[in-house]
Amino acid sequence: MSDKNMDMLFNSGVLTGEREGAILPPRELWEKKKGGVVIIECPQRIPCNPCHTSCPTGAILPFEDINNTPKVNWEKCTGCTLCVSACPGLACFVIDLTFSEENALYKLPYEMLPLPVKGQKVQCLDREGKSVGEGTVENVTQPRKDRTHVVHVSAPKSLVTIFRSIRVVK
């Protein structure tokens, strides 16, 4: 894809590679972390900090300027998903690479109905909503009891950089 088309894609709300505020954790650390670590995709300077204020371990660093993009100390992250449900932009995800040999556990924010249930198959969607595979719902939680659910989906590890949403097949 040309640079211009990549820019257009990003300008319409699709992440097109790592950039400030949307950086993947170091792979070696990530692969060892039981419970997973947070992936944040928040590349624009906006006045917002609930990811930091909701973080119980100090993994999401304090904001010097509330408009800065978030920074993470992945060593401290436990994959608890409190930020996943607190983020007003639904821009936090947790991915646990220790789930099984082939599969990772993807913990994604979800605010649609109907809610999927444990054991249900769901479509794995990329950042443009294209189906890239199938996953199995392992758990559905509501960490802050505020109607933002976190759906835990097991799906192939090969999808770690692209799988960010689900479609519940009715």
């Binding site: 257009m8 995709e41 300077r45 006045p47 204020t53 300027d65 007003p88 932009g89 605010e111």
Partner: protein, 369 residues
């Protein structure tokens, strides 16, 4: 004709007006809030998404919950705040410094306050295109009211026009309500709203077509579709054209401040593109050139509700102080530093330019504090 004479009149019971009323009442002033709608809370009661900002602006809390928080605060001052709902302030007469107001469709009366805070919010802009008068063409505010206040679905499949925060958020809300979003068209080369709002609907498969607009609506009696077209850099419709099947066209192309009452009161007005229209000049206390008039929220320039609430606090505090009520020293500076931090992001730069145009250091002939 009945005439009431409150110390402070707050026109508009939305985010800015409720904040102003609470702040003025906390300083000891007697306040009357007049709201044209049946319910208080303004746009907040339609906002089902979580707010940005910091804890001070209730970040992470859904808009309608923020309305509840403000209403509870108002309720704690119920001896000093009275509220008239379903009441529209219809005009201001400088001859006797009096407002006319209408409650429901029958009762007409006058209000003569000592100070007035105009927190009248904004009105939606619409764009012209053939057939835009057919049933099924809505402003985004109407769609939100139908869905989120009255629980009525406005359609089954929507074309959204505009990718500012309202277009993006209302698209998401429509999807939550089970409406299919066919596409979002945006005339500019990038989304105008927050990138994360766009990302969350993109990953659910909704196309956002940049440099595109609606050319015409299709249908005889009701909307059956729309023709969209590509735009060039001069916003001319150059194609390619595409037909979209939809029974709902939602227009979210921006807001203009509602400022008629300020104009009628002789406040010095200025057209400021960055604030989206005609707004009153104001000093740091949100006082206008008319010493009895303050302004706050979208009526003083289109911005986020988080900023509107802080501006409301400033206006409420200043109006109470001007009436001689003791207020905490330095509180206005504290509120300004909150506003400044809210305005330091990408969208804030534009707002700051606009504020710089309308903010005055002081008023001629006014005594200094």
């Amino acid at each position: 004709m009945k005439k009431i004479a409150p110390e402070i009149l707050v026109i508009g019971g939305g985010a800015a007006g409720l904040s102003a009323a609470a702040e003025a009442a906390s300083a000891g002033a007697k306040v009357l809030v007049v709201e044209s709608d049946l319910r208080l809370g303004g746009q907040l009661i339609k906002q089902t998404h979580k707010f940005f900002g910091s804890k001070d602006e209730y970040a992470g809390t859904r808009g309608y919950k923020i309305a509840d928080i403000l209403l509870n605060e108002i309720d704690s001052f119920k001896d000093s705040v009275s509220i008239l709902q379903n009441t529209t302030v219809t005009g201001y007469y400088t001859e006797d410094d009096t407002f006319t107001a209408m409650r429901g469709e029958e009762e007409v009366f006058q209000i003569k306050p000592q100070k007035t805070i105009v927190a009248t919010g904004a009105q939606e802009r619409l764009i012209p295109f053939p057939n835009n008068d057919l049933p099924g063409v809505y402003g985004a505010g109407a769609v939100q009211t139908l869905m989120n206040v009255y629980g009525v679905l406005p359609g089954k499949r929507v074309l959204m026009v505009g990718a500012g925060n309202i277009g993006l958020i209302v698209s998401y809300q429509l999807m939550q309500a089970g409406v299919e979003v066919a596409a979002i068209v945006e005339a500019g080369p990038r989304i105008g709203g927050y990138w994360v709002h766009a990302a969350k609907i993109r990953r659910m498969g909704v196309p956002i077509l940049l440099r595109h607009s609606i050319k015409k609506a299709l249908g005889e009696d009701v909307i059956t579709g729309a023709v969209i077209t590509g735009l060039n850099e001069k916003f001319e419709q150059v194609g390619p054209e595409e037909e979209i099947e939809c029974d709902l066209i939602c227009i979210a192309v921006g807001l203009s401040p509602t400022t008629e009452l300020l104009s009628q009161a002789g406040c010095k007005m200025m057209y400021v593109p960055q604030l989206c229209g005609n707004v009153a000049q104001r000093d740091r206390t949100m006082r206008t050139s008319n010493p009895a008039f303050y302004t706050a929220g979208d009526a003083s320039g289109i911005e986020e509700a988080s900023a509107a609430m802080v501006e409301g606090r400033i206006a409420g505090l200043s109006a109470a102080a001007a009436l001689g009520y003791p207020t905490e020293h330095g509180k206005i500076d504290e509120y300004w530093s909150r506003l400044e931090s809210l305005r330091m992001g990408e969208a804030g730069a534009r707002i700051c330019q606009g504020i710089e145009c309308v903010l005055v250091k002081g008023w001629e002939g006014a005594s200094h504090e």
